[in-house]
């Protein structure tokens, strides 16, 4: 019995963990096994995951070591095993920054990305784009354009996101794919639309008029992806915040690119208003719209800004918490005084009583921001905030205490 116990204990200690105490030199030697034919997929997957594990743990590979492993993995392209192939792609991506002559796999990856196997294609595109530099990009341009409009959503998304990454290093080239990306915006797949919008808006940052047109297209249509809605809301909010003298400064800082000209306000307004009163299905998209709208309010002194505020307030009644929060956050953070903060505050107040810590934190954090500007508006939430002082989540509790200290009145000391 005692020996059984000991065995059990030992087993627990090592946890049957095959990745414990891995030695880099031994693993690198094992990588030589890749040269053997025929390829044994399972064994190779195991060795590849050991290499990836080492890299993930922060183990340093010298250029030579990395290059050797890289070249060994290229041998694995002869196997058709899907899992093995996917692990090879991962390895290529991880080693691409360390190894030399990585462009050697370009043709293998190009073959995979244009091949018939749908399980390879998205991952192959992403791996290919991670090793391609701007000079090589022209060679794969045609395939990228095709992939962006591919009917398989995974392929399309992979190509769009890769293009977004590439646009920072080769903006001129990627700009030529804008038509394809715009076509992808019509996709039925929520993630594809979201990625396409992000890319297109990113590419058009210098062409403000078309950005406005681009975003306006979504108003009045039902956007399925919540992420996309969030993005659209953020654009809307950004436009609003654009009263800085140098809108481009804001934009670059904000990273995305909906550079909308101040003079183009009319089209921006049209763009955002198209969504008002329509049922936008995607909460993410609504969030983005809210962000846009909030931005518009900041820049616009005319009556139209009221419509944006109305829209944001309308979003407070959405069924998705994500959207409600986005709207309440936007209202509270508007620089322009809003007629009535009460609905937003009461939503945040409700959040403070939620069983989800994320919601409580979101609520408390936003109320804390508001305290600095409008202490009186937060007064109604004093009791809710007091309840949060003993919150099991310390971040929430700390926020509640700070907020209360800032708003503190004599009357609350007793309690």
């Amino acid at each position: 019995m005692s020996s059984f116990k000991r065995d059990k204990k030992e087993e627990e200690d090592s946890g049957g963990n095959p990745y414990q105490n891995l030695d880099k030199t031994i693993v690198l030697q094992e990588a030589r096994y890749f040269n053997e034919t025929p390829v044994n997929p399972r064994k190779c997957i195991y060795i590849l995951s050991k290499i990836l594990y080492l890299l993930n743990q922060g183990e340093k590979f010298t250029t030579k070591e990395a290059t050797d492993v890289f070249f060994a993995t290229t041998k694995l392209f002869q196997s058709k095993n899907v899992m093995l192939r996917r692990m090879v792609y991962l390895c290529i991506k991880e080693l691409s920054t360390m190894a030399q002559d990585i462009i050697i796999v370009t043709s293998s990856l190009t073959k995979d990305m244009t091949g018939k196997e749908d399980l390879y294609r998205p991952a192959a595109i992403r791996a290919l784009c991670s090793i391609t530099d701007s000079t090589m990009l022209q060679a794969i341009e045609r395939y990228m354009k095709q992939a962006i409009v591919d009917k398989n959503p995974a392929v399309s998304s992979a190509a769009l996101v890769s293009a977004l990454h590439l646009s920072s290093s080769a903006p001129d080239l990627v700009r030529r794919w804008v038509n394809e990306a715009q076509e992808a915006m019509n996709s039925d797949d929520p993630m594809v639309c979201y990625h396409a919008l992000g890319l297109v808006a990113g590419l058009k940052k210098n062409d403000k008029l078309s950005t406005v047109k681009l975003i306006t297209r979504y108003f009045g249509t039902s956007v399925k992806s919540p992420y996309m809605l969030c993005l659209l809301i953020r654009f809307a909010a950004q436009m609003e915040a654009m009263n800085s003298d140098d809108p481009m400064v804001c934009y670059h800082a904000l990273g995305l690119v909906a550079g909308l000209k101040k003079n183009d306000k009319l089209s921006t307004v049209k763009l955002i208003t198209r969504y008002f009163g329509t049922s936008v299905k995607s909460p993410y998209m609504l969030c983005l719209l809210i962000r846009f709208a909030a931005q518009m309010v900041e820049t616009d002194d005319s009556d139209t800004s009221k419509r944006f505020i109305d829209f944001i307030e309308y979003c407070l009644r959405h069924k998705s918490e994500m959207v409600i929060y986005e709207a309440a956050h936007a209202i509270v953070n508007l620089k322009k005084p809003v007629r009535d903060l009460a609905p937003a505050v009461s939503v945040l107040q409700l959040f403070c009583g939620s069983s989800k810590a994320s919601l409580r934190l979101a609520g408390a954090r936003t109320l804390a921001c508001l305290t600095a500007k409008r202490p009186t508006a937060v007064a109604a939430c004093t009791v809710d905030l007091e309840n949060l002082i003993s919150d099991p989540n310390r971040s929430v509790a700390t926020l509640a205490v700070t907020t209360l200290l800032a708003t503190g009145a004599e009357s609350s000391i007793d309690r």
Binding site: G16, Y19, N56, Q57, L164, L231, C287, N393
Partner: protein, 183 residues
């Protein structure tokens, strides 16, 4: 390092939302971690120090969310594993939460609901692929656990039924029965 301010600001419209994702064990050691922002936590040393700090602050309090070093971190734990998703402190917490759910759910499906260290180590390859499917350089690639798993868990398919051992077949039958009963 990003600074936390009490000052409110509007959310920025960008696809680059996720700053990092990681899975730690019950001692705060890294099982898998990925950081996507080139401007924060650039060295492994900084990352591991951040992870230790994060773990120390979160492993006892089961509180879902924390703000640490200018990052908003949502987290979830099970048995001896801790899952984290990090975003800027100016990010919509609920978007981060949806990414965390995608991560946790897909790992959970991959491990056949046995979300614990021993099992995750046996399936590390699939989990690495899932990481890759959820987030590409900070852009949310997919948030639907079933489609993520569909693309990350390919290993079971390539072992034909005939080549599985009797024990494996029994095991998978048992699992299926268990989960159909628990549903």
């Amino acid at each position: 390092m990003v600074h936390t301010t009490m000052e409110g600001s509007l959310f920025e419209p960008t696809l680059y939302i996720v700053k990092g994702m990681c899975i730690l064990d019950n001692e705060g050691n890294r099982i898998l971690a990925k950081y996507y922002d080139k401007n924060i936590l650039t060295t492994t040393k900084e990352q591991k120090a951040f992870e230790k700090n994060l773990f120390n602050k979160t492993h006892r309090a089961n509180a879902e969310i924390i703000m640490l070093d200018g990052l908003t971190c949502v987290y979830k734990s099970n048995v001896d594993l801790f899952f984290y998703v990090m975003g800027s402190s100016h990010e919509n917490e609920l978007i981060l939460q949806s990414v965390l759910n995608a991560l946790y759910e897909s790992v959970s499906i991959l491990l056949r609901r046995n979300v614990e260290k021993r099992v995750i180590m046996e399936n590390l390859d699939s989990v690495m692929l899932a990481f890759d499917e959820i987030c590409d350089g900070g852009v949310i690639l997919d948030s639907d656990p079933t489609s993520i798993v569909g693309r990350a868990a390919l290993r079971t398919e390539d072992v034909p039924l005939g080549e599985q051992t009797v024990a494996q077949v029994l095991q998978s039958a048992k699992e299926q029965l268990k989960w159909s009963l628990l549903k």
